[in-house]
Amino acid sequence: MSQFPKQAKVVIIGAGIVGNCVAGHLAERGWKNMVLIDKGPLPNPGGSTGHASNFIFPVDNGKPLTQLTMDSKRQYGELGVERICGGIEVARTEASVADTKRRIASSKCWGIDSQLLDVDGCVELFPWLNRDKIKGGFYTPSVSVVDSLRAGTIMREKAQDMGALSVFANTEVLDVDVEDGKIKGVKTDRGDIEAEYVIICCGVWSPRIGEMAGVQIPLAPVVHQMIDAGPIPQLAHVKGEIGYPIIRDMSVKMYERQTSGTMEVGSYAHRSILIDPDDIPSNEQAKLSPTELPFTSEDFEPQLEDALELMPELLDNDKVEIQYAINGLISLTPDGEPLIGETPEVKNLWVAAAIWIKEGPGAARMLAEWMTDGAPELDPNHVDIARFYPYAGTKKFVWDRATEGFPKLYDIVHPHEQYLDSRNIRLSPFHSRTKELGAVYFETAGWERPQWYESNKTLLEEYADRLVERTNEWDSRWWSPIIDAENIALRERVAMTDLSAFTIFDIVGPGALDVVQKVAVSQMDNKVGKACYTLLLNHKGGIRSDLIIARTGKDSFRVITGGGHGSVDKKWFSDHLPEDGTVQLHDQTSALGTVGVWGPSARDLLESVTDDDISNEDFPYATVKKFRIKDIPVWALRMSYVGEYGWELYTNAEHGPKLWDILWEAGQKYRVVPVGIGVYGTNARLEKSFRLFGNELDTEYNPVEAGMALPRVKAQDFIGKEAYLKARDEDPTTLLCTLTVDDHTDSKGEKRYMVGNFPVLTEDGESIVDAKGRPAYVASCGYGAVVGKYILMAYLPPEYAKAGNKLKVEYFCEHFPVTVDIVGAAPLYDPKHERLKG
């Protein structure tokens, strides 16, 4: 074995599927002088890869995980370690049957072939299913099993063969060296290595390594129980590893996966069992491996009954024995998504953790592209480790969310479903007031945001003739008709909306203009007091954020962005500050409370509580200004995501309750209504066709496709400019459109009001795919109560993106006619923005 190195360009910690693939992908991209270490032996160092079931169901209801999975499947196929066997998600209950239909929609959204099966169809593919127990299934022909250990070995050896990587097994990391916020190297039990980059790919152990470097890696090791039962005589004839589709028994949160003559039965139905990373045994201490913990049979007993019920012919046989049973450890994050990217705390310290077999090679490619090119091909927004705020790194939070999240892994999860534990972590200065008004809170980035107000119930009667009733339970779950009523009241009176969940930071110092100019698409060299809504692009010209930047001084700018993405935006700006410290970023999020005051009576209301001039002339649209509301100083922004005349009023947090009270009391004369995020984030913004980052906007789309290319391109350089200029010269392959539903009635005569993502089809019901292979799907939807239409936003290829074009959407396997109303940025409501600009 070669000598242990003292220096390396990159140290990769962890030789599971992720670490090995990261090494291979970096080597492919020209990286040299890399070292891969693992505390266990090779090829199976004892992490979660070693005991994985290795099957891949590609269709997830979410796009980020599906994309990583599809990329991983492709890579496993190219490595020659994938065997296609097909898979069926069987449904025992009516709710599960409905969910299989939602899966069909998701598979069409993400471009994956699948079909619904009736009971006969299920039994034809897997003859030993108990017909009496199932009502149907969702079949994906491309479901496969892979050899993840072999895949890792191939990728690792490829990097070694290229002379780019040396590998040291049985080498434990003892400490991580950080200096001035930058990685310096690692200390191991075989010596220290200086390194320019360190990548943590340690699965369930990642938080421990993170702690050594002072960074938070919010994941919890959780137990997933599985047993191997056999020998099964009916399967004895199967040559090779698998000859029948894998069965997922969704209603009871289990799966059955054939392995030669045995059946692996796995469960996600048992109680949440979390293990502290410090309590995971070492390779020497563990009987099987550190992540194959002793089986706790009492937790599995109800699942045995379920398995016997589903496949009695195969399993209910005294000769079919439980040959292997483990409490296998896997990683789970507070939001169920992986952790990929550079840590916000330490420069050049990268992480790829909480990644399962189905995402491994895809996640590795994403990380390698990100490190090499500054931006990965797939959108990293939902998996970026920088998305978590400091509170999310506390063990209590991670543990509570993993405990609540584990049962959801195989459950039917509504698109708007809220976590119930670990709430009230971030409260707005207005919280006591909104609570008194009966706010129903949804959580974003730890903030409790009023989604609607029960005190507005009286509006239901007032606007009864303009509201639509949602009779379907799914469509109306996590929703209230009050939202629609608030939507109408906003446009007729004046609304107060708590916006304190914004992430706000000031960029200050000589050179601040250069910083914002570099990251923003729009011209930043504006007059002091000018506010600008701008896109931020990544190096490949994809949209990586949209936010407001206001010039507050010659050398100071205020950035205002959504809480959900604010932490990532903050890292992006921090990454582009000059190293000499002349420009500083000051986070003002916790210092300020924000209330939106908008609507036809907004100006009257505000003028009644201030002596300052806030007329349209003195305080025009897209400007900021400091003034006083009675005895409270405020900093105000004349802009609106709901498309009405008005302001976002920012005040010091300690003034929050008083400011609210002043506005509320003065507002009574104008019949002020508290309006929730249901209106702000969905109804009203859709009426204005305003885009939402993470829905319509992500790095896979460019400003031209999003209908957001500016008339002119600024002379100054900015990130993504080259790609942006190129996109402007080319014909777009897709265009963001606003559509409306023509008829909501399904085949049973029930009116359906769609939620979540679902595919857009031709009038003949065929899938629509753009020239880059991206299927058309609805990214946002909601009721525009004032325009009286159910509004959808979707990217469509140019041949379909024509106003007036008739198309269809598929929702729970029913087709509904829709019309393309607008191509590009114009809204259905107030198309000339007269109400907004005054």
Partner: protein, 253 residues
Amino acid sequence: MNILVCVKRVPDIGARIDLTEDRQAITTKNLGFCISPHEECAVEEAIQLVEKHGGQATVLTLGPADAEEQLRDCLARGIDRGILIETDQPEWDSRETATALAEVIRSEADKEPFDLILFGNESADSTGCQVGIRVAHHLNLPCVASVKKLQIGDGDATASREVDTGWEVFSLPMPALITVKEGINLPRYPSLRGTMKAKKKPVDRLSADKIGASLKMQQLVHPPEQKKEVDMLGEGSAAASRIVEVFKALEVI
């Protein structure tokens, strides 16, 4: 036949055994629990004998409340009922254990006499090889230890054990007590159905008086580590000439 099998809950150890700070026990934080390998064979033997000759099999253990897990595991494999003599102390010595077991066996036998009592040759943790023989002494039963073959005749049993020169074969009248060794059979795993059935099988919980230990634990120590040295002779055909050298040095060739 009415058969009794006696088992003990022991830690299912990994490769390295860690000791508690006071060196009075091994650390079991990361370990599961099981019965000893010889006892698995005793359980299997009892199940096979009942399958062949009819009757019923009972499993008996002395240990903490959690030892029910091991009884249920035996029931899942096919034993009919379980008896747990529940203790609150971590470890009883072999004399105490044997006395308590013998007392319970006597009272159980008053209801229905046992034809055969099976033990594992020794437990995997303390390896005393005593409890079975002590119980036989208490109950005044004929006893053969380290048995690897067992045949049941009409009121008698033939038990064989392996010695260096071949087999020792014993014939003994029943009721008898036999301690068995791995190799007598290939123990089965519990089936799914067996595991489900085991939940409903009866487990009686009893208590017993501790007579007082005659042995006192001083402390556990690790045996001195055996140094292993690995000399890589090379890879592929390049290693051939060095292998020949080693073979010559060892006088293999």
